[in-house]
């Protein structure tokens, strides 16, 4: 691994100068570099699996949404047979967008420029005035469809990649599948996206939010101090630096760069601090406190869809926050409500690059499809109040990241390194069932460093 081929930027810097594997440091300049950004688009965003949405957004034949894979815009559409296709939103005739709407329903996508028409599966139907054969006679119609990405559905989540012959989705997930299944594949009818995503632009590089998504638990203590002041997370504002119960759990990760923070409710949230699972069976634990987003009537479905080991973890120390490499944040939290209840908040974010100095924050909000309508309503409200545009947790992140970006421009500042040197090292807790790289105890830098190593490995591949 240490001998991988790499690249040299025009000022002579190599990947090893930017990511210092001997000391676990990353040069701040990686956040603001046009050349590096172009390489990232080729080597990461055109190569790996990317999250685009959820199948419940496009339930009917012809339904489509327009999304982005890096800077490449795609149409995510369901065809007449129910299959989901991801096709480049670029007309092969003159390069116009084939879909100008963000979402809709159409069996035929006709480019508004010259009228070339395409089916939901991206295949070319024809150009106007058929007898004049306006697509010419050099290329056959079969060659003139929209460029298609490879698609994989996982728990209804729509992933796509341009790497047609690359790793399978299961290889991409690796050992983290055991944990992600507990969030996305646990009920008979799965998750439902509750509405179109929130979208907003932040003036910062995509990697600033993305590396934080790799289970940066430590920032919660200071940046999200208001969670402790508000009595939501355990600990008091006066004592959080002496005693920070919400920081302890098991961080799980893998060499693919994905990670999740598995946290006991009683340890993390003040309102659950009296709950003790001691001596209780898995079933009893689930009845006492179902995991975020699960209602009591859904508990039997967990046993049906997951292995006993997965259910045991979900009942005891569920995965709550984390990320999927390269640009997905996972937020499946208990999220206490202002009225004292707790129905959970389930959200995924993608951080879509918009140039070296901008990122689009897309916030997808979910509930279990079979959850009662009132629970879905509560969860939507809960999630909006905690996460995304106006979310009281994520407002603070959105204000912090652009300031890191501002610093990355300074000729001296950009030589500063980001440090991932507080390491626990892999350690398997007693009785732990899942695989992967495991970091029990206080949340440290290991998972984020694994994210950077996944980044390194992809960037080193020409």
């Amino acid at each position: 691994m240490l001998q991988k081929s790499s690249f040299t930027l025009s000022d002579g810097s190599t990947l090893d100068d930017l990511i210092k594997r001997d000391t676990n440091e990353v040069s701040l300049r990686v956040m603001n570099d046009e050349e590096l950004y172009k390489l990232e688009m080729e080597r990461i965003f055109a190569k790996t699996w990317l999250l685009l949405g959820h199948e419940t957004e496009i339930p009917k034949s012809g339904d489509f949404v327009v999304r982005d894979m890096g800077e490449d815009q795609v149409i995510v559409a369901r065809d007449r047979s129910g299959e989901i296709h991801v096709s480049l939103n670029v007309c092969p005739h003159r390069g116009m967008k084939v879909c100008t709407a963000e979402a809709g329903n159409a069996q035929v996508h006709r480019c508004i420029y010259h009228g070339w028409a395409f089916r939901a599966d991206g295949s070319f139907i024809g150009a106007p005035i058929e007898k004049e054969q306006m697509h010419g006679n050099i290329r056959q119609k079969e060659e003139l469809g929209l460029k298609k990405a490879r698609v994989h559905l996982y728990g209804g989540l729509i992933f796509a990649t341009w790497n047609i012959d690359g790793p399978s989705f299961d290889e991409f997930l690796g050992d983290s599948k055991f944990y992600f299944d507990q969030l996305f594949c646990r009920t008979d009818n799965g998750l439902e996206m509750l509405g179109p995503p929130q979208r907003f632009i932040l003036p910062c590089n995509w990697k600033i939010p993305a590396e934080q998504s790799a289970s940066d638990g430590f920032h919660t203590l200071t940046l999200h101090r208001s969670l402790m002041e508000g009595g939501i997370m355990g600990g008091t504002p006066e004592s959080i630096y002496d005693n920070a119960p919400g920081m302890y759990g098991v961080d799980v990760s893998c060499e693919q760069g994905h990670s999740l923070r598995c946290l006991e409710a009683a340890q993390t949230f003040k309102m659950f601090s009296d709950i003790s699972f001691e001596g209780k069976s898995v079933e009893e634990r689930l009845q006492m406190l179902p995991p975020p987003g699960i209602t009591k009537e859904l508990i039997p479905q967990l046993f049906k869809n997951l292995s006993p080991e997965q259910v045991e973890q979900l009942a005891t120390i569920p995965p709550q926050v984390g990320g999927m490499f390269p640009n997905v944040l996972v937020l499946f939290i208990f999220a206490p409500r202002t009225d004292g209840g707790s129905s959970g908040a389930l959200a995924l974010h993608t951080y879509v690059p918009r140039g070296p100095d901008k990122v689009e924050f897309i916030n997808f909000v979910f509930a279990e499809k079979d959850a009662p309508e009132q629970v879905k309503r509560d969860m939507l409200q809960n999630t909006i109040q905690q996460a995304g545009t106006s979310g009281v947790i994520e407002q603070d992140d959105a204000d912090t990241w652009p300031q890191i970006m501002r610093n990355s421009r300074g000729v001296v500042s950009k030589t500063v390194t980001l440090k991932y040197q507080a390491l626990h090292g892999h350690e398997r807790p007693e009785g732990w069932h899942g695989g992967g790289l495991l970091y029990p105890g206080f949340t440290k830098d290991d998972t984020q460093w694994n994210w950077w190593m996944a980044y390194y490995n992809l960037m080193a591949e020409a």
């Binding site: 419940t56 957004e57 496009i58 339930p59 009917k60 012809g62 339904d63 489509f64 949404v65 100008t100 709407a101 963000e102 979402a103 809709g104 329903n105 159409a106 439902e192 996206m193 509750l194 509405g195 179109p196 995503p197 929130q198 979208r199 907003f200 632009i201 932040l202 003036p203 940046l223 101090r225 208001s226 002041e229 508000g230 504002p237 202002t338 009225d339 689009e360 909000v365 939507l380 409200q381 909006i384 109040q385 995304g388 545009t389 106006s390 009281v392 994520e394 407002q395 603070d396 959105a398 204000d399 912090t400 652009p402 300031q403």
Partner: protein, 191 residues
């Protein structure tokens, strides 16, 4: 559930502006008092006098901001998507937000300098006595730190103001933002 299909689009997604036909004319006493209240509200928020703002809110307040989605063809005007929102708040959750702003809310500490411009105010009577539908345009300039470029947002607000004890209180507000992808990095400010 998201429904982008041509058929069965929620009619409410078209709803903009005033619903009631019983207009309260410009320059009338009621219109003037409501306009004055909107100006007072904007000043309270710009000056970060949150207690004064809370005093203008009814305790059954519903405060929302649906997302917009760019659509075409037969659905091109049905672009207010009320299945997802940027704000989805009640009086209680607004208190939670303002309470947080008095502590460690780094998103507004140091605070933004804001300027709220309220125009195009139209008022109509509701079916319920003493309640008024108020539609206004809002334009906000927001300055953060020493960044010389302001973040801005433009929106239509569809409000219900209720009269009681000689003052008007906000009972309902729907903020219809114009952008489908917001150019503002967060809504740590109120609109």
């Amino acid at each position: 559930m998201v429904n982008y299909a041509t058929a069965a689009v929620d009619q409410a997604s078209v709803m903009r502006g005033l619903v009631s036909k019983k207009r309260v004319p410009l320059g009338s006493e009621i219109y003037n008092r409501i306009l004055e209240t909107l100006y007072d509200e904007a000043a309270a928020l710009d000056e970060r006098r949150f207690d004064d703002w809370i005093a203008l809110l009814a305790d059954d307040l519903v405060y929302t901001a649906p997302v917009r989605v760019t659509r075409s063809g037969p659905n091109k005007d049905r672009d207010v998507m009320r299945t997802m929102m940027h704000f989805d708040d009640t009086y209680q959750s607004i208190l939670m937000r303002t309470g947080r702003l008095s502590k460690s809310a780094w998103a507004e500490d140091p605070p933004s300098r804001t300027r709220r411009f309220v125009t195009n105010v139209r008022v109509a009577e509701c079916d319920i006595a003493e309640e008024y539908e108020v539609s206004s345009y809002l334009y906000v300039e927001r300055s953060r730190f020493d960044v010389p470029h302001n973040e801005t947002i433009s929106a239509e607000r569809r409000d219900i103001w209720r009269r009681g004890d000689g003052a008007y209180k906000l009972a309902k507000r729907e903020i219809i933002v114009d952008q489908s992808t917001l150019g503002m990095s967060n809504f740590a400010i109120f609109l």
